[in-house]
Subunit: 759 residues, 2 copies
């Protein structure tokens, strides 16, 4: 369910150490540097293996599998979803993987009744449906589709005046307050975008709204961006974005079994006690259906950044538009089927490299998620071929095809919760993908994997430009980046990889279990706009996304290299100077955030006190002078800075230790390797705290988390950053201590790894 396809990668300053040290040995062939974690000799062998992998990839496979997997709607609980699980499991088996299907039984509501009507000042009945489109046979399979709805909306039957709340994020409600508009007792209509969708009903309910309509404004992914389907690929006036509205930032997975696997006999919460189900009913509609509702609003005209692309003057309301919304769901437990395929490691079988992508979709899901799934399958088939040739991975490979990601990462979360102890002990890293498209490599993940994944990106060739995908990703930063991003792109040897928020299956691994993770995918040149609609299907994909699967092939190359290097390295390819640099950047950011808030409060209070607001309010309109802001105290960031200094020293020392060990010509024994791996695996774990984040203990990682009010968007150093954003100064001070403790623990664990190398 990952939303944004085009995530430009970022760069920054990193010690030059990274290029000169941190590799196991100088390359035998001076023109090709040795891979991180490999000796020169083993590096050459690894590259040869990767060449064989490339040769085994076939775009025709991907096309055929996509056709097969998207031939019918295959949402969670559907018969075709179950058949897909069997089909995928059979493929893995045929390639030599030890394959099993693990079932779980999460709560999954489906709509029994959806009523939405405009009842004043005129009456209007929206279609609430997506009609077939000429030339698109898939879109005619209406009978097999779930209708447009938001999963985990509560049941409800409400009637009230309508208020337009823009994107429905906290800033928007501040604006409403300043115009004297209260949503209490009202139904809000919010446009999709600028936050994960589940944030919108959550914030609306916090402000007393009784119902919530979501719609896709054409400004955001319709004709405001490009030609609409079927002329172009962008959203047409009837396409509706489905999706979960559970409060994912509280915890991911099944609402009834937080923290434990939703096995058949798991202890379940009563539904009324489930915390992630919405407080008010929510329904998504198309912009064709939304227009009459928005047109019927009066009240003040909205400010420019609230305007969408519909041909009307947008008004706030409330009213005279009055709306009736009734939703009834079938709240049943639904079996889901994770496909788990294992290729055991020859030397270190209890060390797992996990690679995953989900296969369930809201409808056909050609792009989301099958474009990613078929690339993973392609990669697994090629690896299977290597194994059939006699090769065995040094460490164990686990391939996962997750079911039920769309409603809330159910497949991955329930599996990870079920196997938590084993995963904490054995998992080296989790490598995710979800959707894939024509364009640029996007990488997010654990910063300790930055150097390794940069090496991978330097070795994969872009099919459109015949340069490395690394060079092309760097070029976007140079063209579209901010001044800071351009500077990084020029000066930093590695692409800085972005932090993980949420929205795909890496979340249980990194944020709940503290397993290093990566999320990979290409994109930026597609015409999408069909996210979670009935038109994200093979017909659309083969015209507007990645028609010849060229990027499907290189995602398989990218994922395949990543998995193989993690499995085959002499020393696990973790690198920490880049990580220290990235955490240092986050510390600078939260410091600046507090400073900026302080300046803003001073400035705002000046304007309130000198009467400037009152003097500029048009007396023919309602305006409310904002409340005076509390002064922002200076916070003690010293613990964070001290822990960071320790980390920087540890990171440098570890790099030196790697180089020294290589220079000493003392290869690691299997026992030493197992010991070192155990310590390195523990580095990411060290970044977690058992008590979790304030108010949401399921999330234990102290560097990356989904924002409590952004959902998909990551908040780094969340215990500090969100406390500052929410002006909870005591919590921010506690957050500084917690994060500093995690960073110190990370540094200490890196020191232990370095000490092992020095033995």
């Amino acid at each position: 369910m990952r939303r944004s396809m085009h995530r430009p990668v970022r760069f920054g300053f990193v010690l030059l150490l990274l290029l000169s040290l941190g590799r196991f040995a100088a390359a035998a062939d001076e023109t090709v540097p040795a891979l991180l974690g490999f000796s020169a000799e083993r590096s050459a062998a690894e590259r040869a293996l990767e060449k064989k992998l490339d040769a085994a990839l076939d775009r025709e496979d991907q096309k055929a599998w996509m056709k097969r997997l998207t031939a019918h709607p295959h949402h969670i609980g559907s018969e075709y979803d179950r058949q897909n699980s069997l089909f995928i499991a059979d493929l893995f088996r045929s390639w030599g993987f030890t394959t099993r299907i693990e079932d779980f039984y999460p709560l999954f509501p489906t709509p029994k009744e959806r009523v939405l009507e405009l009842i004043a000042p005129t009456r209007f009945q929206p279609t609430l449906s997506e009609p077939p489109v000429p030339g698109d046979a898939s879109s005619a399979q209406s009978a097999e589709m779930l209708p447009p709805f938001n999963a985990y909306s509560i049941d409800g039957d409400v009637t009230g005046e309508l208020v337009y709340v823009n994107y429905g994020i906290p800033d928007d409600y501040e604006q409403l307050e300043r115009r004297g508009i209260d949503v209490a007792g009202k139904i809000v209509i919010a446009r999709y975008g600028h936050s994960w969708r589940g944030i919108k009903p959550k914030v609306a309910a916090e402000h007393g709204a009784i119902g919530c309509i979501l719609y896709s404004d054409p400004a955001d992914d319709g004709y405001g961006v490009g030609d609409v389907y079927p002329k172009g690929g962008w959203r047409n006036d009837r396409a509706v974005q489905r999706g979960s509205v559970a409060d994912g930032p509280l915890h991911s997975g099944d609402p009834l079994t937080p923290g434990v696997g939703a096995t058949k006999d798991a202890q379940r919460l009563d539904r009324k006690d489930a915390k992630t189900i919405t407080k008010i009913p929510v329904l998504p509609i198309s912009y064709g259906d939304a227009l009459p509702f928005l047109k019927a609003l009066d009240g003040p005209v909205v400010p420019p950044d609230w305007r969408g692309a519909l041909p009307i003057a947008y008004h706030f309301g409330p009213g005279p538009a009055k709306v009736h919304l009734k939703l009834v769901f079938d709240w049943k437990l639904t079996p889901i089927h994770d496909v788990i395929a294992v290729l055991p490691g020859a030397e270190l079988p209890d060390e797992w490299v996990i690679r995953g992508n989900h296969y369930d979709a809201w409808v056909h899901g050609a792009l989301d998620p099958i474009s990613g799934m078929v690339a993973v399958l392609s990669e697994a088939k090629a690896i299977g071929a290597l194994a059939k040739d006699g090769w065995r991975p040094r460490r164990t490979l686990v391939y996962a095809a997750w079911d039920a990601e769309e409603p809330g990462l159910l497949g991955s979360v329930e599996w990870a919760e079920t196997h938590a102890d084993e995963l904490r002990a054995k998992a080296i890293a989790y490598v995710n993908s979800d959707s894939n498209s024509r364009g640029y490599l996007g990488i997010r993940g654990s910063s300790s994997l930055e150097a390794m994944i940069n090496d991978v990106a330097r070795d994969v060739v872009d099919p459109e430009k015949s340069v490395s995908v690394w060079t092309r990703a760097r070029a976007t930063a140079l063209i579209d980046g901010t001044a800071e991003e351009k500077r990084e792109a020029r000066d930093r040897p590695n692409l800085r990889i972005g932090p993980l928020g949420s929205g795909s299956d890496y979340t249980p691994f990194i944020q709940h279990l503290g397993i290093a993770a990566l999320d990979l995918g290409y994109g930026g040149e597609e015409q999408y706009g069909q996210y979670h609609t009935a038109y994200d299907n093979f017909e659309h994909f083969s015209r507007f996304v990645d028609p010849d699967f060229a990027y499907g092939v290189i995602l398989a190359q990218t994922g395949g290299r990543t998995v193989l290097r993690l499995a085959e390295a002499d020393v696990l390819p973790f690198e920490f100077t880049g990580s220290a640099d990235t955490i240092s950047k986050y510390v600078d950011e939260v410091t600046k955030l507090a400073d900026d808030l302080r300046d803003k409060a001073v400035e705002e209070n000046l304007r309130i006190d000198d009467g400037s607001y009152a003097l500029t309010f048009d007396p023919k309109e309602t305006h409310v002078v904002p409340k005076r802001q509390e002064a922002v105290p200076y916070l003690n960031f010293a613990p964070l800075r001290n822990s960071l200094a320790a980390l920087q020293a540890s990171a440098r020392a570890y790099s030196k230790a790697v180089t020294a060990r290589a220079a000493a010509g003392k290869p690691l024994s299997t026992e030493e390797r197992a010991e070192l791996d155990r310590l390195l695996i523990g580095t990411e774990r060290a970044l977690t705290r058992p008590e979790g984040l304030p108010g949401r203990p399921w999330f234990v990682h102290q560097i990356d988390a989904p924002g409590f009010y952004t959902g998909y968007g990551a908040k780094t150093l969340p215990a500090v950053r969100e406390a500052i954003e929410q002006k909870k100064w005591d919590a921010a001070a506690r957050g500084v201590d917690t994060v500093a403790a995690a960073v110190s623990a990370y540094a200490a664990q890196i020191d232990r790894a370095a000490a092992t190398l020095a033995k």
Copy 2:
């Protein structure tokens, strides 16, 4: 024809001198400071006079006059325009002014034939008309209106493919070039805005286009801003912006008589030699009419900042839309009638304070220009009443009601050219207004009048907020200003007044003759969007602009005070430390402009050289790598800095001389006053150079000019700034010398004035 109603004023640092010195004497009443240029005693008398002025102002007058003047369409050449001239002249006469009507005979084309049609891929005939609107009787007077057209479009009959060029300014053609789109031989469609309209066909023709359609996108003043007429005041789908498209930045006024008055027997150019008539035919249309044309375009989708608010994906073209445009005009000389009303000065009759507003309109012109005209009439009536009471102004007042401003400032320019010598000798200042509305005081003009007009603004009370209009104008800068503007608003004692570009009748005075000028008007809270349409009429004005003429009354107070203080001061209220500060800001700006261009060229060339552009171009689209940029040399700004240093010293010395003279208790004799006034009048003249600006000798002012590629928007230090913008480095160097010479001459003239005071 002034476009923007809401021009936020700006502030900046000025020496505190301004408040402590520069006044003739400390006030008698310590709580009310003496007025600039007045002794304490005379200051009290002046304030008493102004109170009487205020008492004589009557909003009912303004309402009645607006009804009378807008009862019928009254464009140049119409019978009702002539009747309005007689009506206005009679009013002035009845108030005791010596009044005459001066006629001129400029070229004014009116449409004989207007054909516009979409001929491929489908056919469409636009309406090219503005229908009556329910509840708006004025809009039903179609028979008396000129249809929508652009004055000084050339005749033409062209057929070609259509290209959308956004606002049609030079930057937009750069974007087209980068997408490989050539407009040569094509017809362009440009939206109004971001430049004076005449720039659009000029730039289109420079790029080889054969025709030009202008339209108003709803994003800019239609439903993209607010409710459309008649529900709200903004532009509806049939309202068309008329207006001149002559190349005004080359010279203003009659195209056939540049530099001389268009009297009956003036020597005229042959029409084919007239430089300001467009090179290609141009026609304006509504967004209702534009939609089918834009919808018929294909080719690449435009970038986000090119998108308007029509419910389509905007495409560049060219084609498949194909257009036929035929325009035939009646090219006749048309008599125009300037009303000139004089109240002779009792002491210094050969010193003129000129106050003007135009009265011709494109249709009814309630806002543009009658809202300003009736305020000026109100002001003149009140001054007439003072005179009837026995008071006489010390210096001569000249009130002008200009005809034919709309086609190109014809009334003011031809009058100023005819009386150029006398004006250069006698005119102290020209005070303009044009349109007026609810909201904030906007001031632009000669920086030497900054202190005086700030004093005026401090003495006029805003009818909505009961604070001075100065305080309210300052508040907008504090709320909406940039960081720099906010700093100025807090720290600078006076509002910094903006520079004059063009677009109203101040142009011939300041920019052609070097007479200090001001342009005054209120606005920012209206719902306009009917600029130059059939709906800018009394019905619209009294609902959406200034329903009770509260701002009409305070414009009369503002203009009246300005005129009276200029006429009555002991020492003309010119102040130069603020002027030096403002010119210093301009010098900083042009220096930064060169530096920024240099950085930009370096950055751009880096990206070209490292291949980043090529790497980020989608191979499915056409993109052209931009040309390498010429390196930007370091320019020698020293002559400008040296002249500025001299000016700063002279300005301080003059302020000191004023204070010293007052402290010495030696009032000026009439002869000394005449001598000092002559020198002060000469200060603005010193800022002109007889050779004029490069390529446009009609514009002689070296500080303020309309931009050659912006039209309305001012370009300060134009000989330097525009040369840098156009990358003409030799011309920029010459410009530095020319402007430095003007600034030095300004300083020397100020020195002479100071010396007179020291006698």
